[in-house]
Subunit: 381 residues, 3 copies
């Protein structure tokens, strides 16, 4: 799957380079909760696997979207004759959503196969309006180990959108966590309208290399990297070529944002606060297949009661979603897609030339290689 | 061409799994006779080979659609200056339809190549309004060895249609011969309109496993498998999940159809009678390339004279073609295409899980592996 | 890249068969001069490499269109803040057009990378209204060694067009230099309108095989092959099948053209005169990638002063471009594309069957295999 010569030449983060289809045995968001409606199965692809989800009496279940018999997708023609089961449209093999058990074969009710085989099922948890799937085989650790700090806080309310992006998931992570990619956002309408400023880049203080990141190896929580470049660098507000200034940050105002940026296994970003002092941005870059990922961009707001949540919901849809999720982050999408060609045959991991400001990306690659719970392989599909 | 690891794990029907491009040295239908008009060459692809057919003084000839010189398709720009020849548009190499002989090179009439080389030709036979091609190198056996019984009967009149389907040809054969795939047809308008009934499935009688099929190894006729499940099973008219009935056959009436179903090398189905007691359905699943096949669906009617044939022709086009070939069999097309992904990398042949009612498919795979006259390979193209 | 079994079986011109992406260390035309405007970078692909060209103070520079840092195409979003530099849109790495030097990184102006790395640059020469690029690593020989004789003559004025063709570049060369491919042009309106005649083919005189070509191994000039078939053959004006005439050349008039045809490394054709006694046709078939090439078709006219050049410019656009470049040579495009399938997996080089009139193509293949300055490989990309 991944070129062996490349793996030999990227030993510092071999596991990360291998994980073209993502890390196995982690929790990933698959849908927003309101996309999975009672009794209306929906399909998706995660880490190369085809899944089918359904909500039954309020609870979400997930099964592999592939009949055991002849391998056809159940989703090709959905046939659910009872609330708890799904029947393959081809030969009427019928499975229970809760455990995948082949409970009936309507074309031959006396078949010895009945009751003896199970379709693969996936553990599901809902949290903060997102449906998470555990993509793996082991007993799942708590969801809290696979999301960024504060995401699950009781008073945190989450709203967001999901987009399919045509690049490998690692282009997503590295674009999001990349300190100096801010350069692509210099013309975003978010800064002037929201009275804030985003620098053009960061000049890391020399001699403070060891303080640029803080690595967290979660024992009772998530594993990730804090990017400390903000505290150990000079923000660049004026870009110069051969000493002459040629481009400037838009000085929208004095709201301070993006004070703390961190990335967490299996690939979720936290920017705190962003795009406003009252908000935290949480993002996921979920492997879809080798060349595409699901981009979940969400904004969290702390609320004290239902009325505040309702108000935030309106504010999110009318204001923050168009202004920042689209107005700021849409540029990240084409940037990731522009990186894809170079890394597609794996040689980009060898030929790239990182610079000082990429130290947080280096820390993430090493940590991810060391601490992931497994690597998704073609054999798992 | 086919994954070697898969071949090692499918020894019971290795030859069948190998035959991704079909079986060599067999007769296949290529066109309906009226598609090949006097002096109007038409091209097609069979078993991965590009062919060009022409009708001359009523007789059909077939040649390889690839000039010997630089390999271009003759069909790219047809140039036929005499009735008996075709000239390559590029350098005017000119071939005889009847034997492929390079009889002239108009750009250099003194070339030593002339008269010494031959383009590959294919044996052709017309029968029952179909043009059959022998795809192979050996002396062809009679066409009667490669069609289902009764197809060539003197009083049999055939009408039908041809469709290109995006699945390997074996998905076509197995869909057609598959006893319990009838489940997909449960909503077809053919049954109520034609006052018949098709069950939802078949529950094979236990202890009668050895009587489920009759294998015919033709010495002076075709080789194939009769599916006897109808006589050794309980037809399922009511589908149940956990004991509760959830779906029923449409009881259109008491016309009895599909009493005898059989499959014949190199891949042709007979359903007798179908879709009416007065008709027999003959189908072919002809390999086009690794991922597509030609689906010939035809209906045969016994007639006593020309007036009856004329009446049948009208009845076929106005009634049976829309009601059954489309109204019933169109569902088979998407079912086959839905199987393709699972088998495309060959691993489906290992990962599938067959059940009792598939015994006729198992018998077919074994017979086809044993009795085919050769396997089409890339080298043959 | 190229099938090893094929290379073993094509030893007479192995280097040529290997050169699927073209010959390295040669000059190739990339654009017409007026396509590269002052301060408006344009991208192209040559021999599989992505390039970006810009004109600065009248001089054209060429760089690799791929940032050193994360490999993205600079052309995805052009940002040129000073006349002499281009800045990557992603992290503001800034390069000098003239030598590729990484002269600034605007996101981190104190980076140690600055001034220590260079983007690949390409030597550029303009001649006769064409922009030539040296695709290689060695000190370039003069441009005059890589163009056909007379192309650079002081009094020669060139006009032409550029087309992307979907075939390997060698299908382009061999179509252009091929003596008997004239058969495809038999219906061109150029001959009757321009009062000339083009034969249907050439019957080489037997016993004069050794005089069919003249090979030139340039020491102080280009290396190529003259096709002498015109002087050593009988032109075919009437095509016959089994002795009967079936097709004739259009006898447009007695203007004599195409008296001398020659092909030159790295793949440029000269037809002298063509399509008129007053013109010479110069063509290039420039590798773009493995399955496409740039077809430059140009016509040269000798002029004595600027007024004559202006008159020729008008005559070219109004008359020769529609009548001959399109009216005659457009047929060559589909002919090359029709050859592509047969050669795409390399086996065409083994399976083809050349004939007597192809002796000039054989001479070209051998010469090109012997005298090229290198073979473009995937590693060079």
């Amino acid at each position: 799957m991944v070129n062996e010569d490349v793996l030999k030449r990227t030993k510092q983060w071999r596991g990360y380079v291998e994980a073209k289809l993502g890390f196995r045995n982690h929790w990933y968001p698959a849908f927003f909760a309101d996309e999975v409606k009672e009794g209306e199965p929906v399909k998706t692809k995660l880490l190369g696997e085809n899944l089918l989800l359904n909500r039954i009496d309020g609870q979400v279940f997930a099964i592999k979207d592939q009949c055991l018999h002849r391998g056809v997708p159940l989703s090709k023609k959905l046939e659910c004759y009872t609330k708890d089961t799904i029947t393959c449209w081809y030969h009427a093999w019928t499975y229970q959503w809760k455990d995948g058990l082949l409970c009936d074969i309507m074309t031959d009710p006396s078949s010895q196969m009945i009751g003896k085989h199970k379709l693969k099922t996936y553990k599901v948890e809902e949290a903060k309006g997102l449906v998470f799937i555990f993509m793996g085989d082991i007993d799942p650790p708590p969801l809290s180990h696979d999301v960024a700090p504060n995401f699950l806080d009781d008073d945190m309310v989450i709203r967001g959108i999901k987009t399919e992006v045509n690049s490998n998931w690692r282009m997503g992570v590295e674009n999001g966590f990349d300190s100096t990619h801010v350069f692509i956002h210099k013309d975003s309408p978010m800064m002037p309208e929201n009275k804030t400023v985003v620098p053009l880049g960061f000049s890391p203080n020399r001699g403070e290399e060891n303080e640029m990141v803080t690595v967290v190896k979660g024992e009772d929580g998530p594993t990730g990297v804090f990017d400390n470049i903000g505290a150990h660098s000079r923000p660049i507000l004026e870009g110069t070529i051969k000493g002459e200034p040629v481009v400037h940050s838009v000085m929208g105002g004095d709201k301070r944002i993006a004070l703390q940026i961190s990335i967490w296994l299996p690939g979720t970003l936290k920017v705190d606060p962003f795009p406003d002092p009252s908000l935290i941005q949480f993002e996921w870059y979920v492997p879809r297949d080798e060349t595409s990922h699901w981009y979940f961009r969400t904004l969290g707001r702390r609320v004290e009661n239902a009325a505040e949540e309702t108000a935030y919901d309106k504010e999110f849809h009318e204001h923050w979603k168009p202004l920042s999720l689209h107005g700021f982050n849409d540029d990240d999408i084409w940037a990731r897609e522009a990186m894809q060609t170079f890394y597609e045959d794996d040689w980009g991991w060898v030929k790239e030339q990182l610079f000082e400001a990429d130290s947080n990306i280096v820390a993430w690659r090493k940590l991810a290689s060391e601490m992931n719970r497994g690597i998704q392989k073609k054999e798992n599909l």
